[in-house]
Amino acid sequence: MIFSEAEQFRPYRAMSFPGRILRKLCIDGPLLIALLLLAGAGLFVLYSAGGQQTDLVVRQLFRVGVALTALLMVAQIPPKYLRMWSPWLYLAGMIMLILVLVTGASGKGVQRWLDLGLIRFQPAEIMKLAVPMMAAWILHDRRLPPGAKDLLKLLVIIMLPTILIARQPDLGTALLICASGILLVLLAGLSARFILLTGGLAMAALPALWYFMLDYQKQRVLTFLSPEADPLGSGYHIIQSKIAIGSGGVFGKGWLNGSQAHLEFLPERSTDFIFAVLGEEFGLLGLLSILVAYLFVVGRGLYIAVHGQDTYSRLLAGSISLTFFVYVFVNASMVTGLLPVVGIPLPLVSYGGTSMVTLMVGFGMLMSFQTHRKLLPT
């Protein structure tokens, strides 16, 4: 087997000192730097958005630490083991999802949490990784593009958890998990004709979706279509968010000077709407910079995917990277009024713990794929 990229890999001895350390720790330097930059920027904005409370920032810093540790640990696991564990993780995730529906501790009137005595966590977070892992596992030793039988299998694997999570109800996460699976199938080489056909059908079926939505979900869609209809009620979030971003202008009002955020006009400013705080205080330049940083992460992820050594790592790395972009895009779009408000935080920047760990574990897998390649002699 010939790896045309093999030349890129310098021998261990030719590496610089930090390069050697990173290599030993199984870390991809560029990706780590980009992630640290984003998390750092997040803490910076969070300090302002959260009303300059240091304890908020400290708690978030702790989470970043936990997530980075998880990343480091996952990065050490060779891809072979990740692949072998995939079905078991998926199975465990499914069992917990069902448990949540049956016994789940209720938080905010919806069942998303599983109480395991010492810790409470959302099984849906596991599924964010388990679904693409499982899908990649299935396609690993199949011929690509996948045949009809495999596609059917994949459909079941993706849709089962999607439906279970949507039932909790957590439509945002369900759609993201569904998206991660579909993106993986697309990367696997699903025929263009099939994509167009199902895409068209899905578009046609979109209105039918209306009847399956809950009232608050319908309300969000209506609000998205015309936020000015109820400026103090359901349209308030999006109007205030647009005011925050728009009034930031090109250069922004400056750190700690965002009046929309500090005078409490902007709701959910340290979580889902932190993008608007960034836009208000750092302006267009700040937002474009953070978008560039995100694109760099996604780009590096796709680079790792392209250089993946087997189908499993290629597909999984591609899916994780693209899903990460979907997060960023959906959050930025909802905050700027391009999409209806769905509760998806801005990855790595929004205040909140669970998703941070999941994301970092995903990036840990990417690093594992990148650093555990067999170096073949030329």
């Binding site: 690509l144 009034s247 290629r314």
Partner: protein, 630 residues
């Protein structure tokens, strides 16, 4: 060769995957472009709109009330000013037990039930962090009591505010008017936006008429507020911006009145508690030197905001009508006061000459009619010429003269003086009086038989009875015109405005009205002589009032009929209910040779003018000359 037919064509798969990654990258770039264009649209294209919205979100404009202008009398005595007063306020969010706090305040006698109700009313329109007024004016003793118990009453605070104050109390209240709490109906007639920070408004008198000048221009300051509307501390550039955008209010202009507060007080006490009016006018320019209507009330009770509904109702329902400005709004029959004016018409229209006499037998009848129009002197005045008829106030002479003139010519002469027209002075609610005429009667009545002018009505018009009405202010104004031989000035109270900031005074020139012009100026002399004789000859009805005066007066007494005496009945002051007695009237001007001031006095139900009103005239004029030559 072993790998010619592999299960997986890895190379092809890699190519396929790379191909898909390129597709994905394309999608990525497109979506990012979409996002970037949205951001540019929000932050560059529509920046100004969102910047304005954000500014409006955080900046609230708080209006600042201007200081009300001060009112001075002609000698610089303060008649209305603004004094700091302490008001008790309550900030709802700082009070944990509202009921208990209010109860404790009631126990301490700092509020009563009515104030409690008003507090709840005010509280409704305020936010929890706004201070809601509980009491408007605390006296020193109450302030001390509150201070002692302050620690038991968290959320109760004392704030200083300016309150309108009238140092002379009830004196001149009908001139000054008063300020009262701004009501919904007040807001209808003023520019509501200018009163956003103002709590009180001029309700009557000068305070009402010059409201625009007194009020001033409101200013405003900008506050930084959060989403709940609470004021926040502004820092840095925002603070500078707020300070820069502060617009100071411009205080209302001070007013200088023509009124002499000392003369005014003297005139008030000269009435000795009787209901009535005194009006003194400077005949050379129309300045009102005193304008009294008694009884009055203390305007401080209104401005303090502490008057209860009961107190107000009591004032309103008082049989003596203290709220009513008699001098300006009281329409009274002028009675014999009108005689010199009728005489002037007689001379002007040559209905009578200086030497001509009539025989007064105590009554007059229209030829061919039985009805007797009686003279006040039962036995009659005998042979009487015009001079004596004015001096002794002979009714029969004027019955005959009125018949000779006819209502049309009487109307023409009196209209020149301004009878039946408001004088146009600078006070609200001035009544016009009534000058009857054929035309007026035709329009005023609905029944056909009532719309005809009867000769008998002309007869009684000759002595100022019947339909004719005039206000005390008008009577003084007519007397002033008589004194100046036809030169007329609009009576006025405000002679100058003063800018409180620069101290610059703007004098207002007296306003001259169309004069009364006669064909022969000697007619004026005749009337002046006769009015002089009223005061200065023993037979004159004003003789007793002028005895021993250091100045020479001219005047005319009168009595206004409240109640008609039947044809065969006697009018007996002693037997008639006090409220049905005639109003006593007296007008005068002085000095006779070179008239300076004119005065009218009305004593309600006082009976004879000479007896009841004459002494008041004398007291006021004495006080005036005392003040002039101390």
């Amino acid at each position: 060769m072993l790998y010619r037919e592999p299960l997986k064509d890895t190379w092809a798969e890699q190519r396929l995957f790379n191909n898909r990654i390129v597709w994905a990258l394309t999608g990525l770039v497109l979506l990012t472009g979409l996002l970037a264009s949205r951001l540019i649209n929000l932050q560059v294209v529509e920046y100004q709109r969102y910047a304005d919205l954000s500014h409006g979100n955080r900046i609230r404009i708080q209006p600042l009330a201007p200081t009300r202008g001060i009112i001075f009398d002609r000698n610089g005595v303060v008649m209305a000013e603004n004094l700091p007063a302490y008001q008790m306020v309550l900030i709802p969010e700082q009070v944990s037990d509202l009921e208990g706090t209010l109860e404790r305040l009631t126990e301490l006698k700092l509020i009563d039930e009515e104030q409690k109700q008003r507090f709840f009313k005010r509280k409704r329109s305020k936010r929890s962090f706004d201070a809601v007024p509980l009491r408007y004016r605390l006296n020193d003793e109450e302030l001390a009591r509150l201070s002692v118990h302050r620690h038991e009453l968290p959320g109760v605070d004392v704030q200083a505010a300016l309150v309108r104050s009238y140092p002379l109390g009830s004196s001149a209240v009908h001139v000054l008017g008063y300020v009262g709490a701004l009501s919904e109906s007040d807001l209808q007639r003023v520019e509501a936006s200018r009163y956003a920070a103002t709590s009180h408004i001029g309700k009557n008198g000068i305070e009402h008429h010059y409201e625009k000048r007194l009020h001033g221009e409101p200013g405003n300051r900008q506050l930084l507020v959060n989403a709940q509307g609470r004021e926040m501390d502004a820092k840095g550039s925002t603070r500078e911006e707020l300070v820069r955008n502060r617009k100071e209010p411009i205080p209302g202009s001070d007013l200088i009145l023509s009124l002499d507060s000392e003369l005014q007080t003297t005139a008030e006490s000269a009435l000795e508690g009787r209901r009535g009016t005194v009006v003194v006018i400077d005949v050379t320019n129309g300045d009102i030197l005193a304008l009294v209507s008694q009884p009055g009330f203390d305007p401080n009770r209104f401005s303090a905001g502490g008057m209860s509904n009961e107190e107000y109702l009591a004032l309103q329902n008082d049989a003596d009508k203290p709220l009513f400005n008699r001098a300006l709004s009281g329409n009274y029959p002028p009675g014999s006061i009108v005689k010199p004016f009728i005489a002037l018409a007689g001379l002007e229209y040559r209905a009578v000459t200086r030497g001509q006499s009539i025989l007064c037998e105590g009554y007059y009848s229209i030829p061919g009619n039985e009805h007797r129009y009686r003279d006040w002197k039962k036995e009659g005045h005998g042979v009487t010429n015009m001079h004596d008829a004015i001096t002794e106030s002979c009714d029969v002479f004027f019955y005959m003269l009125a018949m000779e003139l006819g209502i049309d010519r009487i109307h023409a002469m009196l209209a020149d003086f301004g009878f039946g027209e408001p004088t146009g002075t600078d006070l609200p609610n001035e009544k016009s009086g009534l000058l009857p005429s054929r035309g007026w009667k035709r329009d005023a009545f609905s029944r056909r038989s009532d719309r005809i002018w009867f000769p008998g009505e002309t007869v009684i018009t000759g002595i100022g009875q019947g339909y004719m009405l005039a206000t005390p202010l008008q009577l003084t104004h007519f007397t002033a015109t008589m004194a100046t031989r036809g030169k007329r000035f609009k009576p006025r109270l405000v002679t100058a405005f003063r800018d409180p900031l620069s101290g610059e005074t703007t004098e207002i020139p007296p306003q001259e009205l169309a004069p009364v012009e006669l064909s022969d100026d000697r007619h004026w002399d005749d009337i002046h002589r006769a009015m002089g004789a009223v005061m200065n000859t023993p037979r004159g009805t004003g003789w007793s009032a002028s005895l021993g005066a250091a100045y020479k007066m001219a005047g005319k007494s009168g009595s206004a009929q409240v109640f008609s005496v039947g044809q065969e009945e006697e009018y007996d002051e002693e037997e008639i209910d006090e409220r049905l007695r005639d109003h006593a009237l007296f007008v005068a001007f002085t000095p006779l040779e070179n008239p300076q001031i004119a005065i009218s006095v009305l004593v309600e139900n006082g009976g004879s003018g000479g007896r009841a009103a004459g002494p008041v005239v004398r007291k006021v004029l004495d006080a005036w000359y005392q003040g002039q030559n101390p």
